[in-house]
Symmetry: C2
Amino acid sequence: SIDGQRLWESLMAMAEIGPTANGGNCRLALTEEDAAGRRLLIEWCEAIGCTVRVDRVGNLFIRRPGRRDDLDPVATGSHLDTQPKGGRFDGILGVLAGLEVFRTLHDQGIVTERPLELVVWTNEEGSRFAPAMVASGAFAGEFSEEYTLSRADRDGVTLGQALAACGFAGETPLGEPRLASFFELHIEQGPVLEEEGEAIGVVTGVQGMRWFDVALRGQPAHAGPTPMAYRRDALAACARLIDRLQGHALADSSGGTRVTFGCLEIDSPSRNVIPGEVRLTVDLRHVVEAELDALEARFDRELAALTEAFGVETASERIWASPVVNFDAGCIDAVERAARAQGVPWRRMMSGAGHDAVYVSRVAPTSMIFIPCRDGISHNEAEYATPEHCALGAQVLLDAMLERANT
Amino acid sequence: SIDGQRLWESLMAMAEIGPTANGGNCRLALTEEDAAGRRLLIEWCEAIGCTVRVDRVGNLFIRRPGRRDDLDPVATGSHLDTQPKGGRFDGILGVLAGLEVFRTLHDQGIVTERPLELVVWTNEEGSRFAPAMVASGAFAGEFSEEYTLSRADRDGVTLGQALAACGFAGETPLGEPRLASFFELHIEQGPVLEEEGEAIGVVTGVQGMRWFDVALRGQPAHAGPTPMAYRRDALAACARLIDRLQGHALADSSGGTRVTFGCLEIDSPSRNVIPGEVRLTVDLRHVVEAELDALEARFDRELAALTEAFGVETASERIWASPVVNFDAGCIDAVERAARAQGVPWRRMMSGAGHDAVYVSRVAPTSMIFIPCRDGISHNEAEYATPEHCALGAQVLLDAMLERANT
Ligand SMILES: NC(=O)NCCC(=O)O
Ligand SMILES: NC(=O)NCCC(=O)O
């Protein structure tokens, strides 16, 4: 069985790279910090005899040989990049639990039938380069190599340029190696497991999500002499949109509707200037695809209504859509068996967050394992999971992987 | 009478310093562009025998001697700094009309009884350093020298540091020279004169204004798995505040209530992170002081209500309050006589914008002259006033100043 203490120490060692003021981490994708995290992982893995390949969008494939290296590997993995003020577990746990699986097998001299593969997916968060999960998407054929490499951050640096700059532009073609199955361990990032007193989530799928870039154009004018009725205030219009959609989402008693406005920027802001132009990001989610369609239609209507109400022109671009995903029944069952074997309370559940497993599930049988995180909080420096839950999750991962690697 | 062509050419020459993409100007206070504008003006004034003094907050006093230099001067002036995307007339017209007054008197060999003074006030806009009109306020004793010099821009550069860096840190003590009277010509920056077909506004006073720095603190969390009911979304709270106050101001049928949110910043924004902290600026105005009190009280209530509704902590600091101002009856009458003499339609009116005349009026008899601007638009690159209206305003200024300088 896995060594929870060692797993915890590797989590804390990784957290020393790109620390933030309040105990979190900032390792935005393909920055020097992200690269340093990858190098540390590679060092650890090479020390136990693994080999490393890098594909054309910077995904790392770290192999532990099996008895039958002609067979496709059973894989696990997640991401090492974080939000600007991110936590120490989101993504990192999934990667370092994979490392812990390898170390445990190494200590015990176990060789599996199939080879095992630990994957670090590039730019999962979508914070530096939109969309999220872009590199696992490229691996799975959702995004072309050109599209992926040309994603640009706010300063105009492309993902391809950032890859080259940080030394992780690889040569392995996209889609290689083929995976026999894929398991991803992750913190839940929501409150359900903690509230229900359950230790393991057997993840059956992921809700659908859509991202939009919105621009509102009114007219900048002086805050003092411009009568309210003459104004074409892009920020006031934006506030109406946010308030209406927020109210709509809150009113859904099923709790299934999720609406978030993460970024908002005023062009040339000044205290005594009526904002003439605002750019906004919108994140819409739902576990039911048809409900997500209805939510998008409502968003479109509310946006269109701003022109009449505030005299602003509106533009909206859907830059990403990830449909509702259902994971592989066999992989879900494998996780459930491993969870049952631990004798702890568990539940089947959908994921509210996107994960690399979403895209990997298109090309390999896939499922995920969740553990609780404190107060359900993630994308926050205060994100926390207990050493016991981390160890438990890693154990379930090991058991599920072994089941698939030896059959 | 003044030379409208020459005035227009000086306006267009000034507009070549710090031009913006769409025909406006960016000469933020005490930047290299602002300094270049000042140097050009000084060159023009010295060419007609004027002398220049600079006070301890960078205000320029440009003197044209009179017959009785023991008497206090009759003064005019405004500002040369602009908004980030400002126009070519706001402030600049008042300064260059003063120059045109001096040039006209120079050409005709007229020496007034009292000396004349053209003043360029530092940082009127309040865009780089808050509050607005801080240096005319310092001159008038509203702000101490220490307070004024310690105002900081977004990068932490203080007004004092910027003064030294751009070469306009002067030695003249604050409050010197004493002014016998002050007239400021300005574009209206609102739609009234244009709509009413009037060419001159005889300005009787200025509405009251208050500025606030507001912070909303909720909790950053993941956009996907965090149920709406669990969220403490600082941006959603902010949107509610803006929408409510906007609606309140629009509902005031007198049109007297003005509410503007010019700047809004999310801490560490990311598309899939619920905003945990938002900072916002608020600008409240009214022509009636008691109504402004009521407006501030409503703002406080709406802000306080966000804690219950959104689970956010709120903090608000009133960083500036400029009470309703009534100008000097004698100066108002002088402007009215000069306007009547032109035989054009005119009206008495209050100013919606703050101007340096607000603070100067505390230490010298003061009034202002407005001319129309196209579509009432200001604080916008498209700001425009016709050459004819500029010339007319300068003529009224000349006549009002001559009346006061020779009696
Ligand atoms: N797990 C995670 O934070 N993924 C980012 C993609 C998303 O926004 O759900
Ligand atoms: N005239 C002008 O733009 N003044 C700035 C102060 C204000 O915001 O009214």
